[in-house]
């Protein structure tokens, strides 16, 4: 009724509808592939539910559970130590260091851990001397666990610290007045805040570990330490067993849906990322003994995070960088990576911007009325693309198209779309607040001055949203650049990205080459992440 006359023509609705349509095609196509294959050969798909599959499920869950416990428990201690000491030189640096693993491509982290703790790693001689036998390296479960902790402990620490910093200063003041010792403070002030955040943070880490692909692929080593995602990849790329892939994919999907459903009940944010905030002033001062203990905890955590990074750097620098830099295959992989990542980022930004704009327009129009399904889809719905792991989408399309098209020729389009969609939740988070604030300021003014369409984009939206858009672009590009998901399925000699080339070199035991490439890739993504952080933070 009211304002209905403007509804059908509003181009902002069209953009969101188009974006949702694309998402539906991308995810729906994958399902069509899976279901068609299952229906074509139901016996084989059923037969794939064997004891091997059960073992994979068990291992997937077990490693995720262990990884979560090993990440969360120390993170509680580290976060508490940081919160007890709100000002000391290097604190800010530690927090920044803890953001690095998130920005690092998984394959580079795996490489760093191998350079440090592998059979021929930097720490192999002392560890061998310690155990009295040749150091076996960290392949298998131990490797997976260490890698997952390397990624998730710093993230969980930052999230827990954020939770601790929501405690009002007055509570700390009150604690001092009541003569709280460290234990009392923990029990009455810190623990309640941590406990509230615990389920969602643990859930997030668990989810990341269940869907972890690259780390398990590179560090798992063999069928005994395989997760569902890696098994899907192996079924498609090595065993050419689409029926098994269908069964695995369906199980993986069911698992992620269940976990995410539980997560959303806990109020977790599946695209979780902590902000660096200013620590509130505290009035309680830890005793010298506690300070020493906290110092030791922080030092251990820092060493744990720094050493694989350092190993990446050292191993990378000792590679024959000059030869690598002149290799044609490296050049072409770099170019391929850059243009694929650039396109994926552009796709991601377009999708996100269209969704954000539509959502805001719908919300403004309805006022206090409950949101329509369309609006909810542009809102939370878009975030739930994370339910479907990239490998699952890739596998579905792989199965669907394998008989009708040259799969490897489709690699670019698959990488661009899937990586673009996977970066979308992060892009949304960077773009949406800025867009909504700007739109709230500008909508009426633009309407009254007749600034619409291209004029509005050019004169109003672009200048005021340039920074968050570029921040989201750099972030999406970094994610895509370091990703070894879809490309693992669709990569070939014709289309190779840097992570794919890296995996190849690792597979053929050219470890030094891999280390050099890893360093290069890490620097590329870190530079982009840094750029994104800069652009996202400093607003006029």
């Amino acid at each position: 009724m009211k304002a209905a006359r403007r509804t059908p023509a509003d181009p902002r609705f069209l953009g969101g509808a188009l974006a949702l349509g694309l998402l539906t095609v991308l995810i729906g196509g994958a399902f069509v592939g899976l279901i068609a294959e299952g229906a074509r050969n139901p016996g084989a798909a059923w037969a794939a539910f064997d004891s091997y599959l059960l073992r994979i499920i068990r291992f997937t869950l077990m490693q995720a559970l262990l990884s979560t416990a090993l990440s969360i428990l120390p993170a509680l201690l580290v976060a508490r130590a940081l919160s007890r000491h709100p000002t000391f030189p290097g604190r800010h640096l530690i927090l920044q260091l803890f953001a690095v693993p998130l920005a690092l491509p998984a394959i580079v982290a795996a490489l760093g851990l191998l350079a440090l703790l592998g059979r021929a790693g930097f720490l192999a001689p002392p560890l061998g001397a310690l155990t009295g036998e040749p150091w076996p390296g960290i392949y298998g479960l131990s490797g997976i666990l260490i890698a997952h902790v390397f990624f998730n402990l710093p993230m969980a620490t930052r999230l827990f610290l954020e939770a601790l910093e929501t405690v009002p200063t007055d509570q700390h003041r009150l604690g001092v007045q009541l003569g709280f010792k460290a234990w009392n403070s923990f029990r009455f002030i810190e623990w309640p805040a941590l406990r509230k955040a615990l389920p969602s943070i643990a859930g997030l880490v668990f989810m990341l570990c269940v869907t972890s692909f690259t780390l398990v692929l590179t560090l798992g080593g063999g069928p005994r330490a395989t997760t569902l995602e890696v098994a899907i990849y192996q079924a498609l790329r090595f065993d050419f067993d689409p029926s098994r892939a269908v069964a695995l994919t369906l199980v993986q999907l069911a698992l992620t849906v269940i976990i995410l459903a539980l997560l959303s009940r806990l109020g977790a944010d599946a695209a979780g990322e902590a902000n660096l905030s200013v620590a509130p002033r505290r009035f309680d001062f830890p005793s010298p003994r506690e300070s020493i203990a906290n110092g030791a905890i922080l030092l251990a955590a820092v060493l744990f995070v720094v050493s694989p990074l350092a190993a990446t750097g050292i191993a990378g620098l000792s590679a024959d960088l000059q030869r690598l830099a002149s290799e044609g295959s490296v050049h072409s992989a770099t170019l391929t990576s850059l243009w694929l990542a650039f396109s994926a980022a552009a796709f991601s930004i377009l999708l996100s911007f269209a969704l954000v704009r539509t959502r805001h327009a719908l919300q403004t129009q309805r006022r206090d009325a409950p949101p329509s399904l369309f609006e909810r889809l542009t809102d939370r719905g878009a975030g739930y693309v994370l339910v479907v792991p990239p490998i699952v989408i890739g596998a579905g399309w792989f199965i669907l198209l394998r008989t009708v098209a040259d799969l490897f020729a489709l690699a670019p389009i698959m990488v661009i779309t899937v990586n673009g969609v996977m970066a979308m939740p992060f892009a949304l988070r960077l773009i949406r607040p800025a867009h909504d604030a700007a739109a709230t300021r500008h909508d009426r003014l633009c309407a009254s001055l007749g600034i619409t369409g291209w004029n509005r984009l050019r004169l109003i939206d672009w200048p005021s949203l340039r920074r968050p858009l570029l921040a989201a672009f750099a972030f999406a590009m970094a994610l895509s650049l370091g990703d070894l998901g879809v490309i693992a399925l669709f990569g070939s000699d014709a289309v190779k990205t840097l992570p794919y080339l890296l995996l190849e070199r690792m597979g053929s035991y050219r470890t030094a080459d891999a280390a050099g490439l890893g360093l290069f890739l890490a620097l590329l993504t870190l530079a982009l992440m840094l750029l994104s952080d800069r652009l996202g933070r400093s607003r006029q």
Binding site: K2, R5, D368, A447, S448, G450, L459
Partner: protein, 238 residues
């Protein structure tokens, strides 16, 4: 430019729980104050005139023209809001220029008009400033200048001076009055301050619970024989 009559002919509107019914006439070339308690629908009334809201039923006429299906930018109306009247990333000149051309393609004639209007309001030499480099009063002046270069016969003011100090607010009201004397616009302004209304307005529309409950000359409103609801609002009767 000549002011136009605004007629609310049984205009109804609703959102959520709130229901509105406006029935009133604002005569051409008058200055009318819209008053009433918070939530009584003052801003909604202005938004309906500006076209940000669409009536559920009834007719809204400006001049002789029914405003149904007329886009905000097409209406013979300029509106100045309480805040956010300017685009923060555009200069004073560009902000005003948007009043002439929504694509910011300005002819020499446009530029001349802008410079002239800036000089007339004491903003000469500030063409290249960004809004954040201006004071609150100057920002609202720029918004007024833009409304002027748009040359629309109706000017709506939604408490644009509410955040200014008393002296500055009085100055701005005087400027609005001078403007009115020069251009003979129809001016509709929302205010919380009785002294602003009695200082500037010729007429008053009083709202209560989303309805236009009283309308009349400012002189009669502020006299002993003013409408009871209005005097209760002012706190003059229990």
């Amino acid at each position: 430019m000549k002011g136009l009559t605004i007629r609310f002919d049984q205009v109804t509107f609703s959102y959520g729980e709130a229901q509105f019914l406006f029935d009133a006439t604002v005569s051409a070339g008058s200055i009318t104050a819209v008053m009433g308690p918070s939530g009584s629908g003052k801003s909604t009334l202005l938004n309906l005139v500006a076209g940000f809201e669409t009536p559920t039923s009834g007719r809204l006429l400006i001049g002789e023209q029914d405003m149904r299906d007329v886009e905000p930018a097409e209406r013979p109306v300029s509106m100045i809001f309480q805040e956010n009247n300017l685009f923060a990333h555009l200069t004073v000149e560009q902000n005003i220029g948007l009043g002439r051309s929504p694509s910011l393609k300005l002819t020499p004639e446009d530029k001349h008009a802008i410079t002239e209007a800036l000089e007339a309001t004491g903003l000469a030499g500030k063409q290249k400033r960004l809004p954040r480099e201006l004071s609150g009063g100057e920002r609202q002046r720029v918004a007024i200048v833009r409304a002027l270069v748009r040359q629309r016969p109706v000017l709506l003011l939604d408490e644009p001076f509410a955040s200014l100090g008393p002296a500055l607010r009085a100055d701005m009201l005087d400027e609005i009055r001078a403007l009115h004397a020069r251009l003979n616009l129809t001016i509709l302004f929302v205010t919380h301050h009785p002294e602003d209304a009695s200082r500037l307005a010729q007429e008053v529309i009083f709202l209560e619970d989303g309805k236009t409950v009283a309308q009349g000359s400012a002189a009669s409103f502020f006299s002993e024989s003013g409408p009871l609801a209005f005097r209760r609002y002012l706190g003059q009767v229990a």
